[in-house]
Each structure stands twice: as structure tokens, then as C-alpha cells.
């Protein structure tokens, strides 16, 4: 059974169909990429799947349970975690606290335990702190742990967001342009990290503009244009698909297949 099942998902903003009738599935350990030109609706699709937007049509299922329009914090409890294209970092908090926030679900307890600093809370927090430090090492931010996150470079913040998303110990991870603004070395690191995560059984849904990265690591690619799915398949198939080439390079007049789509 697929972990994530998206069926006929759509949303309109003031009459404009930002995403229309998009369906695909993601299985555990699989890397599925969503690609498409700017404005194709990739981030909107992510926002619907992760509960940030309420879909207008269609359904989303997670591990066989329908979760269409369920709040992001409930989806987090069910094992869905994500990063953001336009970084959503807790700027005023330290790097370590940012990752610890990702441990919220495993370290939360009663508010009394928090106010009185009871041993149970301290134990949970200590466990979370240990995990957070390991994750920071994994993304090479362990030395910056006590720094205020707002002071970090863009590439470092990208890695911090991934570490925070991993802190949830997700079953499925949605990465929205993780390599954007990163140099070649950083991109390669992210490439390795994603492959590692998938190998450990996490399902990955990826939006990325770096085509080399996408073609290299994806098992399956979904191509969007003007909010519609115009193609899907393995990297080799998709890269030869005329509709995809047309969407990226522009269409001639005699190629009307998707102009009305």
C-alpha cells in the first residue's frame, strides 16, 4: 500500500485553477519529485498535502487514512513532515532550539511539568536534546548549535530546516526546493542526505529546480504545468516526453496539447 495517495487534488484562487486534478502515489523508501516551470503549482500542491491550504477538490490519504484538509499539526502526528521553499525558521531561537522544536511531539507533556521543571519533562527534554545534537552533526551544524538561527547563512538555514523536519522522525518528508541557493558542494550533500533517508525507508516527496539532482535521485517524477499533471514516470521517460520538453522550452503553434489545459 502506498504511504501517500493523492487523488484528483485541486484548488482555485479567485477563479484561477492553481492546481487541478492532480493524482499520484508515494511508497515508503521512494523518492518522488514534482517538477514544472515557475508558477506550475508545485508549492501550492505541497501546501495542500501538508494541510497549510484546504484543497478545493480531491483527496489526500496517509497510510490509508483520509487526511484531506487536516491541520498540519495533526499530519505531523501521523508522520508527515516538510520544509519550506521560503525558509520558515524560528529566527530568534538558537539553532539547537529550532531542532528541539521539531521534537515537540515526542517531548511534550503536561504544562505543569513544564512550569515546575519536573523530572519527567527534564528527561524527555534531555533525550530530545541528544537527538537534536545528532541531527545537527548530520547536517554539519553542530558547531553553530548555540547561535541564534537568524545569523546563519542561507545554505545553513536550508540544512537546519531539514534537520528540524527530520526531528519529527517522519514516515514521509516533503522537501520544497532543498537545494535552492546552495552551491555545488552543498547540493551534493543534500543529494546524499536524501538518498540516505530514502534508503532508511522514509518516503520523499521533492520539489526541486535543479534538474540534474532530480534526474539523479528520483524514482518517479510528476510534471506539472499550469496546475495540471502533464506527465509522470521514471526520469528517463519523463525527460523524453514531448509535453515536458514543450512545457520547459515553450510550445510551437502546432503543439496545442496543453495550451488549453
Amino acid at each position: 500500500m502506498s504511504l501517500l495517495d493523492v487523488q484528483g487534488l485541486g484548488i482555485s484562487f479567485g477563479g484561477l485553477k492553481a492546481v487541478n486534478d492532480v493524482s499520484f502515489k508515494v511508497s515508503p523508501g521512494e523518492i518522488v519529485s514534482v517538477i514544472g516551470p515557475n508558477g506550475a503549482g508545485k508549492t501550492t500542491l505541497f501546501n495542500m498535502i501538508s494541510g497549510v491550504y484546504q484543497p478545493g477538490r480531491g483527496s489526500v490519504s496517509l497510510s490509508g487514512t483520509e487526511v484531506t484538509g487536516v491541520a498540519p499539526n495533526r499530519l505531523a502526528e501521523m508522520g508527515l513532515s516538510r520544509t519550506f521553499q521560503n525558509l520558515q525558521i524560528f529566527q530568534e531561537m538558537t539553532v539547537l532550539d529550532n531542532v528541539l522544536a521539531g521534537y515537540h511531539l515526542s517531548e511534550r507533556g503536561s504544562v505543569w511539568a513544564d512550569l515546575l521543571s519536573l523530572p519527567g519533562m527534564r528527561r524527555r527534554a534531555a533525550e530530545a536534546r541528544e537527538g537534536a545534537r545528532r541531527l545537527l552533526e548530520r547536517v554539519r551544524l553542530d558547531k553553530a548549535a548555540e547561535q541564534v538561527a537568524g545569523n546563519l547563512s542561507y545554505g545553513a538555514l536550508k540544512r537546519l530546516e531539514i534537520a528540524r523536519a527530520l526531528a519529527l522522525n517522519p514516515k514521509i518528508l516533503l522537501l520544497d526546493e532543498p537545494a535552492a541557493g546552495c552551491n555545488a558542494v552543498e547540493t551534493e550533500e543534500i543529494d546524499h542526505l536524501i538518498a540516505e533517508l530514502a534508503a532508511s525507508g522514509i518516503a520523499i516527496l521533492l520539489v526541486e529546480h535543479d534538474m540534474k539532482l532530480v534526474m539523479r535521485i528520483s524514482n518517479h517524477i510528476v510534471v506539472l504545468d499550469h496546475g495540471e499533471k502533464i506527465a509522470e514516470g521514471d526520469p528517463a521517460t519523463v525527460s523524453r516526453d514531448p509535453a515536458v520538453i514543450a512545457a520547459y522550452l515553450g510550445t510551437e503553434e502546432e503543439e496545442p496539447a496543453h495550451a488549453d489545459g
Binding site: 501538508s50 494541510g51 497549510v52 491541520a71 498540519p72 499539526n73 499530519l75 505531523a76 502526528e77 513532515s81 516538510r82 519550506f84 520558515q88 525558521i89 524560528f90 529566527q91 530568534e92 531561537m93 532550539d97 528541539l100 522544536a101 521539531g102 521534537y103 515537540h104 511531539l105 517531548e107 511534550r108 507533556g109 504544562v111 511539568a113 513544564d114 512550569l115 515546575l116 521543571s117 519533562m121 524527555r124 527534554a125 530530545a128 528540524r164 523536519a165 526531528a167 519529527l168
Partner: protein, 318 residues
Amino acid sequence: MTGRNKWISLGVLALLIALLPLFFPSGYYYRVGALIFVNALSVVGLVILIGYAGQISLGHAGFAGIGAYACALAPEHLGLHPALAVLLGAVVSGVMAALIGKPILRLKGYYLAVATLGFGILVSMVLTNERALTGGPDGMNVADLGLRGLLRDMGWRLSGGEFWYMICGVVLLVGAWLALNLFDSPSGRAMRALHGSEVAASTVGVDVPRQKLRAFVISAVYASVAGSLLALQNGYITPDVAGFMHSVEMVTMAVLGGVGSVLGATFGAAILTLLPQVLTVFAEYEQLVLGLVMVLVMIFLPQGLLPSIARRLKGRDE
């Protein structure tokens, strides 16, 4: 903030509370000190709401009013001991905060400010107009706590000023300890996270409305206890305690001192409680100078007095 910082903050606060009386030229200063501690207590509550969770309230004096009038009314009408009346006030304030917080915390920024302002004004109007119960604008007497008499019987003679200085100092320390615990706890992190980005906080599993409500209720209880202590030490209370000016004063103290830090908030409360006393030398220009000081602080030290000073000192070390 690490665990070590917590104990440093608390240690500094405890030392100040314990040692300041050595420099008091007269017994009157115990009164001023106790007033500072009461103000600081409600401001520490606002640090949790504003500094941690990033929400605003211009109506927290309403909760101070509930706490104060609980101490005035409950002993007389319900036969409760004044100490239990403090508790009752805190519970009523907490429940009220939960009830009104649920709908209004969905609002953001100045909409939230106006909604909380409305609540504060409502409480103050009820206290002013329910003359039969509250004595109206003239206020009412508050029963004695009885603890000072008990201590005297045990051979520990304290003046009223000394006694309330001690009580309020201890309660402030407890309040600061709880707030500092909260800062570095799962709830505190969740509050600070939603302050930074609500959407990111919810994607890491934070129930954003719930955490906002938590911060609102906790800060309401702080204000309520502060109001109770004010009523008990004065032995008298008027609806001014719930007035709009008191709400604004609380927020100003918090922002002036540094809304992100418990110690800063205490500092802000101390400055704004003391300044009017010092500025009496300026006679009719007192308000003018007070306003000017606040404007200058906000322009040149926007993080608040204490954090800005701390940052400067730190910068010099490096």
C-alpha cells in the same frame, strides 16, 4: 537560555531582593519595593504572553482586577481565608482567560490588542458600576491576610512594609522561576516557535491555538496574583487596578525592560515604578520627562533596556 542562565537570573534577582533593604534610608522604601515586585510579577506574566508567544494584550489589568476583588469580596461574602481568595481569584482569572482567549486569540496584531482592550474595559466597568457589591469608584476594604499577626505571635516582629516586601519578593522569585522553567521546556519552545512562524510551528506538530491559549491563561494568572497581592498589602482597592492605564503600564514596563527576558521585565517594572517617584522634582513636567525617557529607550534600545545593555557589554568582551 541554558539551565545555567536560569540559575544566574534567579540568583541575581534573589540577591537584589535580599540586599536592597540594606540601602533603604527609611521604612517607606519597603513599600516601594513591594510595589515594584507586584508590578514585576504581572510583567513576568506578560513576558510569557508577549515575549515567548508573541501575542499582545491591552487588557491584562482586567485579570489584576479579578484577583484584587477576589481578595476583597471572597472573605466577606464566602467566608474564605484571604490566602484562599488569592487562589480563587487565580482560578477565576484562568477560567475567564480560557473562555475569552479561545475566540479572540484567533485575531492577530492590533485586532487582538483591541479585543483584549475591550475585555479589560468590561471588567473595569463592572467593578465601577456594581456599587452594591464593589463599592463603585470609591473602592472597598480588603481583609488582612493574618499572616503577619501569626509571625508576631511566634516572636518575629515585622513592620507592614517589611512583611509585604518579603512576601512579594518571594512570590516574584517563584513567578520568575516558573517563567524561566517554562522558557526552556517543550511548551515554552512551542510558544517561541509559533512566535517565529505559526505555519512552521504547526508543521512540527505544535497545536498553535492551544499553545497561545496556554500563554494567555498563564499570564492572566500572573496578573491576577499580582492584583491580589496589591489589594492585600494596601488593605484597600479601587477599580483603577483594572483600568486601561494599568494595562498599558504593564505592557510598557515589559517592553521598556525587554520583553524577551524575565530579568529585563523586572528591571522595566522597577524603572517605571521608581521613575515617577524620582521625577517628582520636575513637578508638572513629570509626565513629559517620563514620556521622553520611554520614547528615547524605544528609539535607541529597541530590544528593551536590559537586553540592549547586556548585548553592548557582551560585544565589548569579544
